[in-house]
Symmetry: C2
Subunit: 769 residues, 2 copies
């Protein structure tokens, strides 16, 4: 756990330069705009420790490293998120000495991520080996208005000398992934060009053949005046630069503006890429840096209006929650149904692929409440569009008749994870995808989604579950053998309660959806069922038989559901009684020891209580929470939020607050010593859930938005904006109650502390605790 980020409500601030923290800061200060993003690498050369990262959404490489023990049914490849061409580079050589913070004395250093306006700034004063001191201010952003563009303002001021500077803005595509085996390179050179102030580099990914054209244009100002420079091109393999020389005068600022664009073959024909790239550059360069920055700030203001959470009385918590919201908003904008939310977003290359069940289980609630409906819908349509691949995937594993198994990890719908206990067995992901449909409709009321998209997906999923269970002659019930639940510290277990519960729920919801669509859109329904060769009586009959005869592991003595068969054969030890030196278990214990132990990585039975809140009474929840929570090590960043929400329901305010703390500053404080690999993007949505669904107790029941809030003891108040159907509300929780302001043009009836509250358009209501 580190503690070097300065507390501030709107900014992430690092003061002073510690090379050992650099990779962590590179992650924390990352920028992104949904289309592209990058780690906070330096513009100028840096020979110290760094993890270079430039990413273009949806561009990946199918790694096929052979490992010894391939299993039949394993995917063809493991998708690697690719480090792409570095477009921020500006090499600076002053009087023959390269500016490199690793090779000079850093007199002062400050890095600021302005979350309110969406840009990164860096200031430093460096003393070169010849005693020359130079002051640098660099500001940059990935535009959320012009999503294919980024811009940099890089300013140099000589403090104690005048001299000559060689400036070399470059695009470097000769990059590799940190996690590449044998330093394999993933990009091939296609084309390059350098003419005057413009440079272009076109690269193609090996095997996947994504073509990305990266272009840049620069402009130089001295004394606030544009300077005409004579730039010489430098062309090397997968590298293009311009180089020019200027005189620096002591105390006078030289500013380089660099406008860059990344366009990819996902959106253009390859042959059109150079033209498209130039068009983007022309457009943004014509706007100029300051205009772009103003547009950026305005656009971010709109995002904050939808999604901000304001905490009074705790700057650190305020900074933490805004950081989470900011990074989520940088990662996914919902504009492109081909994209999804990678667990590291644009901040690192760890975890191949972009899409996990994190999206459905953790991110959907955030986007539902804080973004236009279309954003979440696009996340759902992403899976709808990949239904064919999910059916293919299930077929590969031996299922048939249209059964669909969505992949554990994917880029394009194809599975690209290859650990059998996950790939083949962590199938609850399939249920999360069905649940997201339910959740989306429950929240938005968009029942039509079932007609056009939802039902088809639900049928594929229900067909899978039907085939995945089997009748046990010993139990005279259906069982589900060989699964891995959300608690990945158990593998290949039988009758995981969460998975079995989710499976029968899916089948029930599919029947319900079928009946709805039949009633509402009989013709479409008929056509769909025909296309799916759906035998209604047989198939729904089989589903219902399973629903009615499913075995669920439970222990009557403790009054709990059992995570799996045989769970009580384990030695039951509470986490609090574990030697702290043994934590985290996944770094200290061998895998078999973890598996044999009772310790739970993340909410599993309790995930079911979160999803199916209405199905279990509070005493059942309490018994299960009291049994499982003490066994949970929360070694997934996705775990504490669920516990925070359930603890909130159980009036365990301190517990809830403590769980929240574990995620809200997870990356800012490098809680798990792994921030340098990138940020935990999807768990950031969980942090938001902790506050809104936990502390504020927000949930939807019977088409009504409900709140059962409490105020953490350390806070004076917290408030957030939330969209619900056609309304936007501001909800503020203070010590003695809740004030809800209806920011929209129509009245809305909500429910607070179990009482209905009608709030007229533009009005506010205060409900006393």
């Amino acid at each position: 756990m580190k503690n070097y980020i300065q507390a501030d409500e709107w900014n992430i601030i690092e003061e002073g330069f510690d090379p050992h923290l650099n990779k962590i800061s590179e992650s924390i200060f990352s920028l992104g705009n949904g289309h592209m993003g990058q780690r906070a690498n330096f513009e100028e050369a840096y020979s110290g420790e760094t993890l270079q990262g430039n990413y273009v959404a949806g561009v990946y490489y199918p790694d096929k490293t052979r490992v010894g023990w391939w299993k039949n049914g394993y995917p063809e490849y493991f998708a690697k998120v690719l480090n792409a061409a570095n477009w921020i580079g500006i090499d600076i050589v002053i009087d023959g000495i390269q500016l490199d913070l690793s090779q000079c004395k850093v007199i002062s250093f400050k890095r600021v991520l302005n979350m309110q306006q969406g840009y990164l700034e860096r200031f430093f004063v460096a003393e070169l080996s010849n005693g020359n001191q130079v002051s640098v201010a660099a500001k940059r952003f990935c535009s959320i208005v012009d999503e294919e563009a980024g811009a940099i303002r890089y300013s140099i001021t000589p403090l104690n000398f005048s001299g000559e500077v060689k400036i070399m803005p470059f695009i470097d595509g000769d990059v590799s992934n940190y996690d590449a085996n044998y330093d394999e390179k993933f990009w091939d050179h296609v084309d390059q060009q350098a003419a005057g102030l413009d440079t272009y580099l076109m690269l193609e990914t090996r095997k996947t053949n994504f073509v990305v054209c990266t272009g840049s244009r620069f402009a130089v100002h001295q004394n606030g005046q544009l300077v005409a420079v004579e730039a010489q091109p430098i062309l090397k393999d997968k590298y293009v630069a311009s180089v020019f020389t200027l005189n620096l005068v002591q105390g006078q600022e030289t500013v380089i503006y660099k406008y860059a664009a990344n366009v990819s073959s996902q959106n253009y024909a390859p042959e059109d890429l150079p033209g498209a790239c130039k068009a983007v550059i022309d457009r943004v360069a014509a706007k100029g840096f300051e205009t772009m920055l103003q547009e950026q700030a305005d656009a971010w203001q709109k995002k904050w209006d939808e999604s901000d959470i304001v905490i009074e009385g705790d700057v650190s918590a305020q900074q933490g929650i805004r950081f989470n919201i900011f990074q989520l908003s940088q990662t996914y904008t919902g504009k492109d149904a081909r994209l999804n939310i990678g667990p590291k977003g644009f901040t690192g290359e760890k975890y191949g692929g972009s899409t996990y069940w994190d999206t459905e289980a953790y991110c959907v609630p955030f986007y539902l409440a804080t973004a236009p409906q279309q954003v979440t819908k696009n996340l759902l349509v992403y899976r709808y569009n990949q239904l064919g691949k999910a059916i293919e995937n299930a077929t590969k594993l031996g299922f048939n008749k249209g059964a669909a198994l969505y992949p554990m990890v994917t880029m394009n719908g194809e599975e690209c994870h290859n650990e059998w206990e996950i790939t083949f067995e962590e199938i609850h992901r399939n249920g999360a995808i069905a649940y997201a449909i339910f959740n989306y409709i429950r929240y938005t009321g968009d029942q039509d989604y079932l007609v056009d998209y939802g039902l088809e997906v639900l049928i594929g999923i229900a067909r899978f579950w039907k085939q995945r269970v089997n009748w046990s002659n010993a139990k005279k019930q259906y069982v589900m053998l060989g699964v891995t639940g959300p608690n990945e510290y158990e593998n290949n277990i039988n009758n995981n309660w969460y998975t079995s519960t989710l499976a029968t729920w899916c089948m029930g919801y599919a029947i319900e959806a079928l009946n709805y669509v039949k009633a509402q859109a009989a013709d479409k329904c008929q056509a769909l069922l025909g296309r799916l060769n759906f035998n209604e009586a047989d198939e729904t009959g089989a589903w219902q038989h399973i629903i009615d005869n499913m075995y669920y592991a439970e222990d009557k003595e403790h009054g709990i559901y059992l995570q799996q068969d045989g769970f009580l054969d384990k030695e039951i030890i509470h986490v609090k009684d574990l030697d702290p030196s043994q934590r985290p278990l996944n770094q200290k214990w061998s895998w078999d020891r973890i598996l044999r132990s009772c310790f739970i990585k993340q909410a599993d039975v309790l995930q079911g209580f979160y999803f199916f809140r209405d199905q279990y009474d509070i005493d059942t929840l309490r018994r299960n929470y009291n049994f499982y929570e003490p066994l949970t090590v929360h070694e997934s960043s996705l775990s504490p939020c669920i516990h925070a929400i359930l603890a909130s329901r159980l009036d365990l305010a301190d517990d809830a607050y403590n769980f929240y703390l574990r995620t809200s500053r997870l990356d800012l404080d490098d809680y798990n010593n792994d921030t340098e690999d990138g940020l935990h993007i999807t768990s950031m949505a969980g942090t938001w859930m902790s506050v809104v669904e936990g502390f504020a107790g927000m949930h939807v029941q019977d088409d009504t938005l409900k709140f059962e809030p409490f105020l953490p003891a350390k806070w004076k108040s917290f408030s957030f904006n939330v969209g619900f159907r056609k309304n936007t509300l501001n909800v503020k929780i203070v010590a003695d109650g809740v004030r809800i302001t209806n920011l929209s043009g129509s009245a809305l009836s909500v429910n607070v502390f179990d009482k209905p509250v009608l709030i007229e358009a533009g009005a506010e209501a205060f409900v006393v605790r």
Copy 2:
């Protein structure tokens, strides 16, 4: 399944050249001598499909290919058996045309593996593109007398022309492994030399720094006369050759003799290797090819005297069993306690590492009965010498106080397998190592082994088991969670009956061994226990408590032991009812489907009945056999032999014979379509077991060798030699009884059909059925 090998009692014969079969034949016709070995690659160039393989025992490379999801406790590396320098190469260019069977017309071709005398011959007539026909006869062997040496006689006769031949004997170390990732090379050049008729190449393995010096000397004869040739050296990176030119006269034979040696830094200081290599070459070249060959034949005769099985009335079965014995004898000679029996021997690179539990469970019985006692003892001492590493290995996984877990796969005692469900969970291997000690002593009577080696190993193993079980509050018994049994089609299961049974047996045997050593060698025992910090009362008390309170899964209704908890929740289907197109399951089904199914890869519960024959009555065996056998797919080559032995006990003669058939010609007939990767060396010992322990019903009880034989219906008789303690017996089973000849100088009392039979030295006894 192929059927191209000609039936012959002593020879393996391939006639005619089919390039599609070449890789299979390269495996089948492999040569080895315990120290080095090679696939049956051609001496001359071959541009067709081939798997090049030259192997030096004990030389490996620690592959560290990074894969995505490393688990804590995984080994540092996966050992690859290395393809080493090719020393057989003799390039032939006739009138400017390279002799290459892939590029010319093959008029005739014959390959013979002479098992009786231990050499490989090849004859062919080839027509080159210019119409020249040449006849070639190549004979070679790896000497079992001079184990660091091999020799080749390569003869060329022009049939329809006279001309010029360029001959280039070479050593090529620029080789790679077929299974190398990214074509990584594993050898670095150290030194080379070519002078006159001698060439030397010294290479070093990357990372492991094994140095191997390969040398060769050639001699050329024409018309039976030594010819002086002026050879020019060719030195390239990791390659050394001599080249010379001769005139060929139509109808006259030119013979090249090539003597080669492989010496390695395992046996010499690296700086001494060139000298050592030259000394070997000097020695064998002085003997000359024919003398070496005669010595080879004599030495093989001795091996056959100890180990032959003669089958009358079935040439194909005869050839099969001799092939198995021959390959086993080529693989392991028992002279070097640092070596072991790789599953592919010297015939391929598949499966890293050299040592699996195959050695203890399947190979020990073969070597016990057919080789001097020291051979098996060295296999045991191998594990004794690695006890320290086994304790380290267990420590890495969280065990302590001297608990030892032997690796699943190893070269030098370090684990080098990285699948958690095997590495961490297939721990029954630890029991097989204890069982081998018991088995060795039961067979040889060498109780002293316990004093000097055995007890220490047994204590380490018992300590492991003690820590590996836990008390179940639910069951009020000890349970063993999270294991994989011999049936690897189940992973991470609870209470695998075989593993639990073996574990408590180990603890019981450790107590017994301790009491023996205490009584027989009190001082040594005291010293050992002191060194091991052994608290006798506590430790043996704990072991006994586990022995007395262990939970064994069973099903009273069926009267069977359960392979694991919950086995009867599976859908029970017999293999005979499986669609044959679905076999083999491991190629047709995804892993989860295999795991969920009831199908058994290899004997698991039944392996326990094999090991602990005396503990269960025949009815219990029958019930378990009848339940499990129909579920067993035998997709391990180690499975049928156990079933053959148990079927023999149950008087299921046809079943026993059919199981035997599945392994005896497994490789000769390429039964599983995988012979091209190499031979199934360790399962060959199982074939021997099928005959001797199965058909002949040989076993040891109360220090007595017992036989309960039957004669397979298709056979006229079968007989074999077997050593037992100080005696050698020839046992011949005919239709109406058994004739046992005592070939040794002292009387021996054996037991046949449950009756004691005393056989005087040199006498024979016939026992009527």
